[in-house]
Symmetry: C2
Subunit: 308 residues, 2 copies
């Protein structure tokens, strides 16, 4: 069994490649997904990272955006705007159905894990999808403009305010969702997908018990750097790392994971960082990590599997 | 001021005509709407009659159906079906936005009156729209197949099961919404729109205090028969009346309202019933009540205003 820690777009694209080269019938894949960016819009519970992974692995994602559903329309959102509501968080009509169904099931008393399992089965995903926790947690970003919920910072404010601190709200009382610690204990390999090390994987690692479980795991643990040549392909990781005084490089990412990792996968463009990363006690694999197309995704997955 | 009691499609069409001939700046129109058919679908509070009146008077209704929003799409509903949910109650993408906004505001503690006022203002309606009550009530239909919530009977079962009884659930504890009794007391005229006398106007009249207020009102009170030539234009009123042993005619409707009415408006086709209706102590106006187009709607409204 392979376990993967996942944020949003970068993770989902990597997992697409992984599923192209792993036969789910032969080796189970369990994906543990960040829920720190979850938010409530119009009374509906939105789980952006779970949805991105769900839609991507179901073959339904909007390929251009990397999030939302392909060919979705925004008729409901136009009407919500007409009712004077804030509509900076884009919610397509098909996408809204996911949030409506999820919210309804949560209100009926189901856990986020149970709801996620139901949506996954309905869309026919061949992997298990686990929210990192069923408890309400929320990543907040302390900026020069104040403390902002992650979506407010990232989507509404376009990641423009300078970042001073990441605050993991509700985390002290949170427990890993059922199956999370078991997956980390039983997996032969744990993959840290190319996601934001501060607010995607960083948040998962902050759930009480997860970081120790990874440290003590006998699995081979491999991370793919989301930072290539000093910047991100997608998302605000580079700006956030800079704001917090981290080195904005694959080395900076490796430092964050050094206590729980065996192998760091970095891009050809960062070949020069390999020695410094080895200095942290990690093996280094240098390869092409830019997932331009299906072939590139599969090739990266194959390289990672070979390194395990 | 004119007050109107309204159900769904027939009432909304009549009110369109009324607003074409009444100048809102000169005479206020207050519409008191049935909420007994309200239902929760996918966790969202749907108020079918309020929405039909809202959409129609905002010029947004689907003119063919008489309900829902013009040119609406069903992408969200398709996705809900994919998640294995029941989708016999058709909810368009734009329409869903109304239910999402309403549910969110209700959950935040606003009353249905407050929410309705907000939606009405957002869509620029020139009339006040009052739900009959802010309390949770629900019309149930006892049939040979058991006790069914109204939408289950009407939409899902296509009004096919034979009707034995109408049960007004929650009504004993319900209070008229703020403004309802005042409107009935202060209006110079009260119009009973051409709606189902059992489950639209019948339900409004069952709200504690409404029927006595109408009986004691000094307003001229006028009803338009929704039954023409022994049948309805729209909806299940005729089948329901038959099931309960009512006479399925304008006379049957007049009987239901006889204690609180001054004028009964019936169609040309029912001219022969005029004498019997006068025998109930009512004035009778015979006119063309079929609202084929805008001109016919306005003509009917003018005839009603002239009779007041």
């Amino acid at each position: 069994m392979i376990a993967a820690l996942a944020g949003g777009v970068g993770a989902a694209r990597f997992l697409e490649g992984l599923l192209a080269v792993v036969e789910p019938a032969e080796e189970e894949v369990v994906v543990i997904v960040n829920t720190g960016d979850d938010a409530v819009f119009h009374g509906l519970h939105v789980s952006p990272d779970l949805d991105i992974v769900l839609y991507t692995l179901a073959g339904l994602v909007d390929p251009r955006q990397g999030w939302g559903l392909r060919d979705d329309t925004y008729h409901g959102l136009e009407m919500l705007r007409r009712y004077g509501r804030e509509t900076w968080f884009l919610l397509g009509d098909r996408d809204l159905a996911t949030h409506i169904a999820r919210t309804d099931l949560l209100r009926q008393g189901q856990t986020l894990s149970e709801v996620t399992e139901r949506l996954r089965q309905a869309l026919g995903l061949p992997v298990r999808l686990l929210p990192m926790t069923d408890d309400p947690v929320g990543t907040l970003v302390r900026t020069l403009d104040g403390l902002l919920p992650f979506q407010e910072y990232f989507v509404h404010r376009r990641a423009e305010p300078e970042v001073l601190e990441i605050v993991y709200g509700g985390m002290a009382e949170a427990k890993p969702a059922p199956g999370v610690l078991a997956a980390l204990a039983e997996a032969r390999a744990v993959l840290l997908c190319p996601s934001n090390p501060l607010v995607s994987l960083g948040t998962i690692l902050t759930v009480p018990g997860v970081r120790p479980a990874l440290r003590e795991s006998r699995a081979r643990r491999l991370a793919i750097s989301p930072i290539v040549a000093g910047g991100t392909i997608k998302g605000p990781a580079d700006r956030m790392m800079r704001g917090l005084g981290w080195e904005v490089s694959a080395f900076g990412v490796a430092q964050a994971y050094a206590d729980l990792l065996d192998v760091m996968v970095i891009d050809q463009a960062d070949r020069a960082l390999a020695e410094r990363i080895r200095g942290l006690g990690l093996e280094v694999v240098v390869t092409d990590t830019i997932m331009r197309d299906a072939e590139a995704k599969a090739a990266l997955a194959r390289t990672c599997l070979a390194a395990l």
